[in-house]
């Protein structure tokens, strides 16, 4: 593996830079689930910057897939199609109910030293680790 921790640190710094650009220049929070949720609501106010941000995400994705081969490639899931759909529903509904995901609570909220975001991060990290544990070591046979 090429530079696992250092690439993670550099990539994380870019994510922090993105959140900074958005917050400092136009006062918006780089929380992906909130941006997507706002789009799904179909409200006209705040539509423009959300669409522009998601378009930027996809453009950046094309760029990084080309710059770093293997970073973005099709990957088959380890779950059944029904399992994949349930996971998607949980991620979509859960992030809206909890007002944020890894970016909104994890990056933006923790940077703001928000107690609410800290509670959210601890909740979803422990739920995720427990789920992975159950699926891999209790139900599945993975080592």
């Amino acid at each position: 593996m090429i530079g696992g921790a250092s690439a993670a640190l550099a990539g994380g710094a870019l994510i922090g830079l993105s959140a900074t650009i958005l917050l400092v220049s136009i006062g918006r929070v780089a929380g992906i689930s909130s941006i997507v949720g706002g789009l799904m609501e179909g409200r006209r106010d705040g539509l423009g910057w959300r669409v522009a941000f998601v378009a930027g995400l996809l453009a950046g994705a094309v760029l990084v897939a080309w710059m770093i081969p293997g970073s973005i490639v099709p990957r088959p899931a380890t779950l059944s199609p029904v399992g994949v759909a349930i996971a998607g529903l949980l991620v979509g509904f859960g992030t809206q109910l909890g007002s944020g995901c890894t970016s909104g609570h994890g990056v933006c909220g923790l940077s703001r030293l928000s107690k609410r975001s800290l509670v959210a991060v601890l909740s979803f990290m422990s739920a995720a680790a427990l789920t992975t544990f159950v699926l891999r070591h209790v139900l599945g046979g993975a080592s």
């Binding site: 993670a8 990539g11 994380g12 870019l14 994510i15 922090g16 993105s18 959140a19 900074t20 917050l23 220049s25 136009i26 006062g27 997507v36 799904m40 609501e41 423009g48 522009a52 998601v54 378009a55 930027g56 995400l57 996809l58 453009a59 950046g60 994705a61 760029l63 990084v64 710059m67 770093i68 973005i72 490639v73 099709p74 088959p76 994949v84 998607g88 991620v91 979509g92 509904f93 859960g94 109910l97 007002s99 890894t102 990056v107 909220g109 940077s111 609410r116 509670v119 959210a120 991060v121 909740s123 979803f124 422990s126 739920a127 995720a128 680790a129 789920t131 992975t132 699926l135 080592s143």
Partner: protein, 148 residues
């Protein structure tokens, strides 16, 4: 100008995700699998992101206006309640099952597998479902901040 800034921010975000390894759900599950062959390297993503964003976020908390004008979109909910925890736990179960959180799932759409398409459609449906149910409250202004 605001749209151009948002576009650039989105592009930088996606490049950061791709560089860091967050776009590979196997890496995510390896990070979450503390009882298996644990790969803690993705903790550095959070470290790098917060390291860069910490000071600007403090500035934004006190500044009257963003640099390009308009208002700061400040989070209205402040209560650490059961709704926050329940939503976060549901999200964590889905994330821990498949290894995709919302950002990487959208970014990976440029090289989709059929299961990723199913995941994103379900994720959008779950988001839309919640927003639809809570739409009346969301339009009444500040009142929902104390609800739940």
């Amino acid at each position: 100008m605001r749209l151009a800034v948002a576009f650039v921010a989105g592009a930088v975000f996606a490049i950061g995700l791709g560089l860091s390894g967050m776009t590979n759900p196997e890496r995510i599950l390896g990070f979450l699998d503390v009882a298996g062959r644990w790969d803690p390297s993705l903790a550095f993503v959070m470290l790098g992101a917060i390291g860069v964003h910490l000071v600007p976020a403090r500035w934004a908390a006190r500044a009257p206006r963003p640099l390009l004008g308009g208002d700061f979109d400040r989070p209205v909910k402040t209560a650490t309640d059961s709704t926050l925890v329940a939503g976060s736990v549901l999200f964590g179960i889905g994330w821990g099952a498949i290894g995709y959180c919302p950002g990487p799932a959208i970014v990976d759409l440029v090289a989709p597998s059929s299961s990723l398409v199913v995941f994103v459609v379900a994720m959008l449906a779950g988001s839309a479902g919640y927003r639809y149910v809570h739409r009346p409250a969301a339009h009444t202004g500040a009142a929902p901040a104390s609800a739940g």
